[in-house]
């Protein structure tokens, strides 16, 4: 177990290091931040001073080494645009994104699982077919367009919900959250729904497939034969068993949800990390872009690591096959 753990940890570290290198190179391939930052009528002396202050006069490898050295001190650089530590700026936006992602996750499970079970139990009914057709829509609609349609319908046409922004927040343990106020909830609903639709479709399809499989299992047939009520069969025997793969997938999808939030946050002017990323890319604020990407990598690798460790703890077969491989 310990060997497996160490090896897995090593792999994660390797992934983070490789990503750091790629992210750094990728970010440095796009444009020169000085051309964007400095006022166009600045003198050469001014431009030169900015270049030096930002450390852009050094060769790439030198900049990379400085960056790596600072990372070990928990310092991901100072934002070119805001003049403050990049990590602080990104972390400041993390709660808004996490809140959005978690609410979206909740919506996708709360709506997706019942619909999936229904479609799985009655695959040939009109209802079941409609659910499946709807889930195809959820998969294929472009997020940006879908967000605009939601705004047009609920905010502009019906006027029920605000078109964007975060609304009123309250501090819980020093972290501003919006789901505890009515105004905040109203602002949260549309962006969360927009973010959830794709995942909801995924959950529906996953649940339906699993329900169909599980419904034919012997123990379900046996339960029915025993005369257990339909309700109990569905809620206890079927639901419990299909939740295992659904929960596994969703754990992993949470990471991608944080990354997927970029488009939704931009459309709904949601003050999260994704919107910050887009703004920073437009301003070529390299330290913030790097800090964001590194944090995302860290979150996803972290979740994967935890899931893998849990898996091996729960299922000895995983550990065995790893050793052989």
């Amino acid at each position: 177990m310990l060997v497996y753990l160490i090896r897995r940890l090593g792999q994660s570290l390797l992934a983070v290091t490789a990503m750091a290198f790629l992210v750094f190179l990728g970010v440095y391939a796009i444009g020169n931040p000085v051309d964007i930052l400095v006022s166009p009528d600045a003198t050469q002396a001014e431009i030169q001073a900015t270049v030096q202050r930002l450390g852009l006069d050094k060769p790439l490898w030198d900049q990379f080494l400085v960056f790596v050295g600072n990372v070990f001190h928990g310092d991901l650089g100072t934002s070119f645009v805001y003049g403050r530590p990049a990590l602080d700026i990104v972390l400041e936006r993390l709660p808004a994104t996490m809140e959005l992602a978690l609410v979206a996750l909740f919506i996708s499970v709360a709506v997706g699982v019942p619909l999936g079970v229904y479609a799985g139990l009655k695959p040939d009914s009109i209802g079941g077919r409609s659910v499946m057709a709807g889930s195809i829509l959820g998969f294929s609609l472009p997020n940006f367009w879908q967000g605009m349609i939601l705004i047009l319908f609920f905010a502009v046409f019906l006027g029920w919900l605000p078109a964007g922004g975060r609304g009123e927040t309250v501090n819980v343990l020093g972290i501003p959250v919006s789901f505890l106020t009515l105004d905040g909830l109203k602002h949260l609903l549309l962006p969360a729904l927009n973010l959830a639709l794709f995942k909801m479709s995924l959950v529906i399809r996953l649940t339906r497939a699993n329900t169909r499989e599980v419904a034919l299992q012997d123990y379900v047939k046996f339960a029915r034969a025993k005369g257990i009520s339909h309700r109990r069969v569905v809620f206890v025997h079927i639901l419990k068993n299909i939740m295992i793969p659904v929960v596994t997938i969703l754990g992993l999808e949470l990471g991608s949800m944080v990354a997927f939030a970029i488009v939704t946050e931009t459309v709904f002017a949601w003050p999260g990390m994704g919107k910050l990323l887009i703004d920073s890319i437009n301003l070529l604020d390299r330290p913030v872009i790097v800090a964001y990407l590194m944090l995302t990598v860290f979150i996803i690798v972290g979740i994967n690591l935890v899931v893998d460790i849990l898996y091996s703890a729960l299922d000895p077969r995983v550990r065995l096959s790893e050793v052989k491989g």
Partner: protein, 538 residues
């Protein structure tokens, strides 16, 4: 039943929201200030917000003319000495009186702001001495004749020396001032205690990415603004910004996309617009025969020939671009700044004449034309890529086979400065609102140490223009300076060293009952938004 309750609740909400709106104005901004420190970042987005809170000695009116603000009068005593008479009886938001000491402190702090992405010190570097004759008279000396000092002083945000922690006496010296105390960091200005200016509004809240809230300064020295509270929300994508206005989330938005304007007007929203100080132009490679991206000329650079450059200008149907691509929200340009701004001559726009253009090409020895690449950003100016495509088609029609190379702004500006394009389209907004700004940057010979020709990657150069421009830059007399600037501009335009295309128009959209006087500098100044709903209803 449920439906009815919801409708009722929505109705109640709508009513209460309406009641509050009479005192509150919500504006959707297209970009967010990078800091509340008014001296942190020389950027239009920051300036338009700071002007609500921090004023300057001199203000710029909607046409960028200068008008008194914290200074009631300013005059040049000789070529290098200026006297500013400061307004009496003005108080900062923290209740301390405004005096010459605050001005000296503020100018001293500008070069000391840490990590400034783009410093305001380019507007203070000519100042060699500042001293207070008395509390409300300030003498400023410059390192040479600097006719732009009044314009430059309109960019200095005046801070409260007391709120910032200065000592009782602040003395200006050229290498760092004395008595500055502990300087507030840029981030400290997020707190209303430090962010004490003299402006019509006080900072209430700044939540990054979310909103900026201002409350009215009831002790303001000037005309009281119409709104008790201002909320500014950054909504950077254009579509959602329009949706926010349509749904009533915000009362007013800046830079609505021009294709949405007819729809907004149909939905009873009010749209105001005016010419901006931004010129969209074509710039060409003049340095030598090694021009990049030109084919079919036996290694020569046809752009060195003034006839070819004139042909390019005559081949462009500016009217058509303005009508069909800009939806009328632009005006064909014949100069580098829209007349009647300072230093313009009222020169006629080059007429569309493709036959003459072809004849000129033939005269220059290119009757068979040539191939060229036209660089353009695709997300910086209004419909920039479409305009470039249209220009390319027009040039191709007279035989200059043009291929458009469009890239995102952050890429484009780097590539442009690296001289990657033989010809490119870009824009220039004259921050100072007068002709020396585009002349110095776009057509003066490249001399980065003197700050000349810094945006002249094509390296256009004319010694006569340079000497006239340099003379203008040290001429204090306004009439004389205007004459010189007109002369310098005419030299560049006569030989088509730069080709103006159009001036952009800037629009604002708002709900009925509001009014805003559009500005050439494109600023959205919240305190200038008027509530005219009473007049409309009565």
């Amino acid at each position: 039943m449920t439906l009815r309750t919801t409708t009722l609740a929505a109705a109640i909400l709508a009513v209460s929201a309406h009641g509050a709106a009479a005192q509150e104005l919500t504006i959707g901004l297209s970009s967010e200030p990078t800091s509340m420190d008014p001296q942190f970042h020389n950027l239009a987005t920051n300036t338009q917000v700071r002007l609500n809170i921090f004023e300057s000695l001199i203000a710029q009116d909607p046409l960028q003319g200068l008008e008194p603000s914290l200074a009631t009068k300013w005059e040049a005593l000789d070529d290098t000495t200026w006297r500013y008479s400061l307004r009496e009886g003005v108080e900062f938001h923290d209740g301390t009186p405004f005096t010459a000491r605050d001005v000296i402190y503020s100018v001293c702090r500008i070069p000391l702001v840490e990590n400034s992405p783009s410093s305001f010190s380019i507007y203070t570097q000519s100042v060699t001495d500042m001293r207070a004759e008395d509390d409300h008279t300030l003498i400023i000396e410059t390192n040479g004749p600097n006719p732009l000092l009044p314009v430059e002083s309109s960019t200095w945000a005046i801070l409260s020396a007391d709120a910032s922690g200065a000592e009782d006496t602040v003395t200006f010296t050229e290498d760092g001032c004395e008595g500055m105390g502990t300087l507030p960091a840029s981030n400290d200005f997020n707190s209303p205690d430090v962010a004490a200016g003299t402006g019509p509004y006080m900072l209430d809240e700044f939540t990054r990415g979310s909103q900026i809230v201002l409350t009215r300064n009831e002790d303001y020295w000037g005309e009281a603004p119409d709104w008790e509270r201002i909320v500014m929300r950054p909504i950077t994508s254009a579509g959602p910004r329009v949706a926010a206005l349509l749904s009533g989330d915000v009362d007013m938005i800046e830079s609505p996309p021009i294709q949405d304007l007819p729809r907004l007007e149909d939905a009873n929203f009010k749209v105001v617009d005016s010419l901006s100080n931004r010129i969209i132009y074509l710039h060409m490679y003049h340095q030598d025969h090694d021009a990049p991206g030109i084919e079919g000329t036996n290694g020569e650079n046809p752009l060195l020939d003034a006839k070819v450059r004139e042909a390019i200008s005559l081949a462009i149907n500016r009217e058509a671009i303005v009508e069909r691509i800009m939806g009328g929200y632009a005006e064909p340009a014949g100069e580098l700044l829209p007349p009647p701004m300072f230093g313009t001559s009222g020169r006629a726009v080059d007429a569309y004449d493709p036959e003459r253009a072809q004849a000129l090409l033939a005269e220059a020895g290119y009757e068979d034309g040539f191939k060229i690449v036209l660089g353009t950003p695709n997300d910086r100016y209004i419909n920039d890529e479409q305009v470039a495509q249209a220009v390319a088609q027009m040039l191709t029609r007279i035989g200059i086979e043009t291929e458009v190379d469009a890239s995102t702004a952050s890429q484009f500006f780097s590539r442009r400065n690296d001289q990657e394009f033989p010809i490119y389209m870009a824009g220039w907004g004259a921050a100072s609102g007068e002709m020396s700004s585009p002349l110095k940057s776009l057509v003066a010979s490249y001399d980065p140490d003197a700050g000349l020709g810094v945006t002249n990657p094509g390296r256009y150069s004319n010694p006569e223009l340079d000497s006239i421009l340099k003379e203008a830059m040290v001429t204090i007399d306004d009439d004389k300076r205007s004459q010189l600037l007109q002369k310098a501009e005419s030299i560049a335009l006569d030989e088509h060293g730069i080709i103006p295309l159009h001036y952009e128009r800037t629009a604002w959209a708002m709900k009925p009952g509001l009014d805003y006087e559009p500005r050439v500098d494109q600023y959205t100044l919240a305190f200038e938004v008027k509530d005219v709903s009473d007049e409309a209803q009565d």
